[in-house]
């Protein structure tokens, strides 16, 4: 239901631009009966079933010999991105009737219609003598018999071919759903090794799909809960480098780090950037009491935001920077509260049975995701920012720490099973509760934080 609703919204918002084409696409999608999904991807659907939109993406045309491999690679990543959303289904090449040998040849819509490909992606790749990869693509609405949006040309270095593919897929996703994409993004997380009672952790970063993993710290020091800056080039995290938890700021490009605030006798943790990137809000424990503080990144004194004998932690800004949602046990159990970002009176927003933690404001501003613990189970859930319309998206022995995709449609979080051998893994789920799946990481992984869409 959710997807259909957002497609209708999409349709309305797109009417001015290429409305007829989208109308054709959506109308057919909604009316087509649902064949079972097949193929290698296994999707665990936890709520309803929405029929994915069938698309075809013939291997992008290699415009010179040097481009043959990368053309195949880019095509595969574009398809994988779209399929991974659960909103799209690829029609395999074996089923194609028409073939595409030139980027500019006319499209045989009837051949694509015959195999029920509702979207067709045609692309071409060339590699220059300097190794630069140029990619062009067009998106076709097969049943409307027309292009959807403008053709686009993207360029990058050889190493950047995955980003080119993600950008193509973001374009396709955006044009068909009317939402921003999220494929050209990265995730910073904690890579874990070793047994449960001697876990070694280090900071790592990867593409949103688990590719290009790179370690940012060694495993000599316990690290926790990294958070991206709004521009995606810096990361805040908690490290025990001094033996005591302190917040560090790390430059992703240079891997240089600096302690944010070294206050003797104070443990600092749970940092998060303000939306403009100028300030950090975080928890500090002094004398056993944990409160929220803020400080400018450029230095200066910390500003106290809460002053209570209870635990105040896990702060997250609203996208406009005016409010902070956080977790507090001032009522006796951990619950969610919203207050002005300069501090002041806080309003409780969670009232269901159980304990609530790690609230994160959606980049769209409409929802707050959280961890909920009730009846011995953990859940990732979402609620409106006033606490209404709570919906639980997952349930397991231990799910915690949601982070939003740049478009506010998907969440990643940490899942760990019970027992001595349990290993944490990163999962993702749509905000609708559909499309729950593991994000592939080379080993155990926890505490994902999703970057904004890369520039």
């Amino acid at each position: 239901m959710f997807v259909l609703r957002f497609l209708v919204a999409t349709l309305l918002s797109k009417l001015g631009l290429s409305g007829m084409a989208i109308l054709g696409l959506v109308a057919i999608w909604a009316a087509t009966p649902a064949p079972a999904q097949d193929g290698p991807l296994r999707i665990e659907i936890t709520e309803g079933v929405v029929e994915p939109l069938p698309f075809a993406v013939p291997v992008f045309v290699a415009e010179n010999a040097a481009a043959e491999q990368v053309a195949r690679d880019i095509t595969r990543v574009v398809a994988a991105d779209l399929v991974s959303t659960g909103l799209f289904r690829e029609i395999p090449a074996e089923a194609h009737i028409a073939s595409v040998s030139s980027f500019d040849q006319s499209v045989a819509y009837s051949d694509w219609k015959a195999i029920n490909a509702q979207a067709l992606i045609v692309g071409a790749v060339s590699v220059g003598s300097d190794g630069r990869v140029e990619t062009r693509f067009r998106l076709h609405d097969v049943f409307a018999g027309a292009e959807l949006g403008q053709g686009l040309r993207l360029g990058g270095t050889t190493q950047a071919w995955r980003r080119i593919a993600h950008k193509v897929a973001d374009q396709v996703y955006g044009r068909i759903t009317g939402e921003g994409g999220y494929f050209d993004s990265r995730v910073v997380f904690v890579a874990e090794e070793g047994p449960k009672d001697a876990r070694r952790k280090r900071l790592a970063i990867m593409d949103y799909d688990g590719e290009n993993v790179q370690f940012l710290t060694d495993d000599a020091t316990l690290v926790l809960a990294p958070r991206f800056s709004p521009t995606g080039d810096r990361v805040l995290y908690t490290s025990y480098e001094t033996g005591f938890p302190q917040i560090y700021l790390l430059d992703v490009g240079t891997v240089q780090r600096q302690v944010l605030a070294d206050e003797a006798g104070t443990m600092t943790f749970s940092p998060r950037f303000s939306p403009d990137g100028s300030r950090v809000v975080y928890s500090a424990s002094r004398g056993g009491n944990t409160d929220l503080f803020a400080r400018a990144l450029g230095g200066g004194e910390a500003t106290r935001l809460t002053s209570a004998p209870s635990i105040e932690t896990a702060p997250s800004f609203s996208p406009d920077g005016s409010q902070i949602v956080f977790e507090s046990d001032r009522s006796g159990t951990p619950q969610l509260y919203v207050m002005p970002s300069t501090g002041g009176e806080a309003r409780r927003i969670s009232f269901g049975p159980g304990r609530y933690g790690t609230p994160v404001w959606s980049p769209r501003g409409d929802l707050i995701a959280f961890t909920k613990q009730a009846s011995g189970r953990f859940h990732i859930g979402v609620m409106r920012t006033d606490g209404s319309e709570e919906r639980l998206l997952t349930a397991s022995f231990l799910d915690e720490g949601p982070t939003w995709a740049p478009n506010g449609r998907v969440l990643m979080f940490t899942r760990q099973g019970a027992g001595a051998e349990a290993r944490p893994e990163i999962y993702s789920v749509d905000v609708s509760g559909r499309n729950l799946k593991r994000v592939p990481t080379p080993g155990s992984a926890s505490d994902p934080a999703w970057s904004p869409l890369l520039p």
Partner: protein, 175 residues
């Protein structure tokens, strides 16, 4: 002895390493001396027989280096208060040692909340020890939240051992 010695090696300060070396040697003479249940539960008789009363081993095994907490609580049980009174006496008699009090939580609860909860627990112990006459400048606290369990199963039998505050000795008088 494995959980405790591993635990010791994870401690942050370089100069503690020397102390650990000595501990490891003496502990090896009493392989059954340190139970997985930790010091609060009652030590083995063999350890009592050989550890000198002014040794860190005696502190860990005979005095008891840790106290346990109820779910979500940082208040001290009467058992915990007895252990801490003994810790305070030992620290008064052995002024050449300082201590870091580590607060820990079980795996129920989010990472951030458990960090804060561990800080509360460590502080409860610190305040009690100060109340018993230990100079505040000999004590520091750190929270590990749920990051450093000593027992790895996922039921209450393990959780209760992980909800703990451990008084870890450091060589060096208070300044």
């Amino acid at each position: 002895m494995a959980p405790q010695s591993l635990h010791s090696f994870r401690r942050p300060l370089g100069r503690v390493a020397l102390l650990i070396g000595a501990l490891a040697l003496s502990a090896c003479a009493n392989p059954g001396g340190i139970g997985g249940a930790g010091g609060a539960g009652g030590p083995g008789a063999g350890a009592q027989a050989t550890a000198a009363p002014n040794s860190p081993q005696y502190f860990r095994e005979t005095v008891g280096d840790r106290v346990l907490f109820e779910v979500d609580q940082s208040s001290l049980t009467s058992v915990a208060q007895n252990t801490l009174s003994s810790q305070a006496r030992w620290l008064s008699e052995n002024p050449e040692y300082r201590a870091i009090i580590e607060g820990h939580a079980d795996e129920q609860g989010t990472r951030e909340y458990n960090l804060a909860l561990g800080a509360r627990r460590a502080n409860s112990v610190q305040e009690f020890l100060i109340g018993q006459g230990v100079a505040g400048d000999r004590l520091r606290t750190v929270s590990y939240g749920k990051e450093r369990p000593i027992e790895v199963c996922s039921d209450e039998s393990c959780y209760r051992q992980n909800r703990r505050a451990v008084t870890v000795l450091e060589a060096g008088a208070g300044s």
